[in-house]
Amino acid sequence: MAIRDKLSGNEAVAIAMRQINPDVVAAFPITPSTEVPQYFSAFVANGQVDTEFVPVESEHSAMSACIGAGTAGARTMTATSANGLALMWEMLYIAASCKLPMVLSVVNRALSGPINIHNDHSDSMGARDSGWIQIYGENNQEAYDNCIMAVRISEVEDVQLPVMNCYDGFITSHAVENIELLEDEKVKDFVGKFEPKNYLLNKDEAIAVGPLAITTHYFEHKRQQAESMRNAKKAILEVSADFAKLTGREYGLFEEYKMEDAERAIVVIGSTAGTAKFVVDGLRAKGEKVGLIKIRVFRPFPSEELAKALAGVKAVAVLDKCDGFNAKGAPLFTETVSALYYGEAKPLAVNYIYGLGGRDVKTNDIDKVYADLTEIVNANKVDDPYRYLGVVEA
């Protein structure tokens, strides 16, 4: 059945791409995503895929070529990191506004400056409002699984939006771990054929894409785009349910870990969730009622569901692997708190900015957060909700 292997996250994603066999991949090298187009170009060189690989001269052109290819009627994929994603910025918005299915694997890395090649989430979090669906994985298995599911999610008829498949640079991208792969045929069947409705290379109907839309039309276009993002939540759950039937691996909008009776909880994204689960197990063994929520889908943000999941806790710590520079709290925190505002209960909430520029996140760091939550519960108030974890203070 499933194929047991040991792979790095980048290898796993490249294999997923081989199995998906997209029509076009256009990509530019940037650490730590570089290996994805490298591995993939070897598949191209060895005739293992039908893909036209376009080794562009910049990430801006990577996304531009993907937009050209996608609108032409090709199933299209790419990968990038950090400054590469930043250089794509303008085109990210355009891809989303064209309602263009596409999968971009974002190997999360800190944005310059100072220049730093290591992991945090400042790249994709900056792009959170570009109109892309964002799915985050904890490890190589999830990066692989999400890559395959992203293709389907992206192409759901009332969604038709591009998807970022995000996973942590180096920690996930370069670490070799056990993984279960699907057989090529199963992936092929799961993703199915790409059948775009309107496309440039339709000989029966020439189309025009990418208009100037002035005040009479622009707003309605954006409202329609917003609707697609609203529709995405259901689509993600449906595709994930199909994937679970195939693999037994269940995915939702987020993962609840030992949350049933939890009084203190951490909300976190990415590989740190694994480290935190280990800590939760330790504290649970000591009888502490702690739990964890790992956000999988950040766009669309699962507000109602998250508020419900946190309704029973007394205090929650939201961990952001990027700063928001609004002097008040980082993106996941502000989204979580605004979700709670409309929820049935409002637990005390605190934000920790952590792990910037690859600062290693140890089990002790997570221990400290749960300990702080205990203090917060005891005091029944949060003095300063905007905190840092692991930064060196004077």
């Binding site: 506004s97 309107n198 025009a208 894409v209 208009p211 039309h217 309605e220 276009h221 329609q224």
Partner: protein, 103 residues
């Protein structure tokens, strides 16, 4: 979602539910339905008797408004002609008059 309009011409302030997904237009060349003739301050008038059918007026028109049928100039498409006068100036045989619009 998305209502099909004639010539794919989505009117101004159309509800978002009815606008074309992703701003795609599927009726190629529907700009033909948009009349730019009212931009004209000056109007070229073609005099068929002076015309030698050299057809130089045809490629120089920015608005594809020189009507050519079976390799013969037959008239001007005033729905789209903006009155730039390039045809007037280019014609080696002075076959066009150029007069203020409305005269």
């Amino acid at each position: 979602m998305s209502k099909k309009f004639e010539h794919d011409i989505v009117p101004a302030y159309t509800p978002w539910q009815d606008t074309t997904p992703g701003g795609v237009i599927t009726e190629a060349g529907n700009a033909n339905e948009f009349k730019t003739g009212d931009w004209r301050a000056m109007k070229p008038i073609w005099n068929s008797d002076k015309c030698k059918q050299c057809l130089l007026c045809f490629p120089v028109c920015p608005d594809a408004s020189i009507i050519v049928k079976d390799k013969k100039m037959t008239g001007i498409d005033y729905d789209h002609c903006k009155g730039c006068g390039v045809c007037v100036k280019t014609c080696p045989f002075n076959a066009f008059d150029f007069v203020p619009e409305g005269e």
